[in-house]
């Protein structure tokens, strides 16, 4: 089971990469915990989470090959 993780904006400054692949992660809560362990500064960052391009607000089950993105506050326009 593979999950694609995307980072955007200022989060890339923290992670040093815009994309990672993780395995065996059942839901978004576990994923966030794992990411916070790997990148402790993320705990101080404001971001939304999307799963397959839809913003989620509660813990969400992850399917094989899905894409999770961490989205800092938007600043387009």
């Amino acid at each position: 089971m593979k999950i694609n993780i995307l980072f955007f904006g200022q989060l890339v400054d923290i992670t040093g990469t815009d994309k990672i692949l993780v395995e065996n992660m059942n839901d978004t809560d576990s994923l966030v915990n794992a990411l916070h362990e790997t990148y402790p500064v993320l705990t101080q960052s404001k971001y939304l989470i999307s799963v397959d391009k839809k913003i989620i607000e509660i813990n969400t089950l992850l399917a094989d090959n899905c894409t999770v993105a961490l989205l800092p506050p938007f600043s387009g326009g």
Binding site: F8, A69, L71, P72, F74, S75, G77
Partner: protein, 147 residues
């Protein structure tokens, strides 16, 4: 207005005033249009802690942004009696004084075009996964925040 594949709105670098002129020109054959409303976002050379913004570098989560824009477009078309709507947003570097957002709505009577344009701009700023990195003149940068 329904289409399977969301329209691309992103352009590399600044949106040129000549392109805006041409977009307006293209509407002269649509003689049912009575009003156009246009919003343009221009990069400000803001001074922050003694540093001047020279440019903004835009990035996006393109697949998601195009889906969001498609939803916005559908909602605006069902709410307002529009003849057409065009949206362009820059990606990459746009220098101070240049244009990074171009929203263009047209309608028979003015109210629809004016209200639709304003609402589209607000929704773009709020809902589109786009990030602006303010590049300072001498060195350094900071991440833009929308108000």
């Amino acid at each position: 207005m329904s289409e399977k594949k969301p329209k691309n709105i992103f352009v590399a670098g600044a949106i040129s005033p000549a392109f805006i002129g041409e977009s307006i020109q293209h509407h002269s054959t649509k003689t049912n249009i009575g009003a156009h409303s246009i919003f343009l976002g221009q990069i400000r050379a803001d001074v922050q802690n003694g540093q001047t913004v020279a440019a903004i570098e835009y990035t996006t989560y393109e697949a998601m942004a195009l889906e969001s824009m498609h939803e916005i477009r559908e909602a605006i078309f069902s709410k307002y009696e529009l003849t057409c709507m065009h949206v362009y947003h820059s990606l990459g570097t746009v220098a101070a004084g240049e244009i990074s957002l171009f929203v263009f709505t047209s309608s028979i009577h003015r109210k629809a075009a004016i209200d639709a344009c304003e609402e589209t701009v607000e929704r773009i700023k709020l809902e589109l996964p786009v990030w602006g990195k303010e590049i300072f003149e001498h060195e350094g940068y900071q991440w833009k925040e929308n108000k």
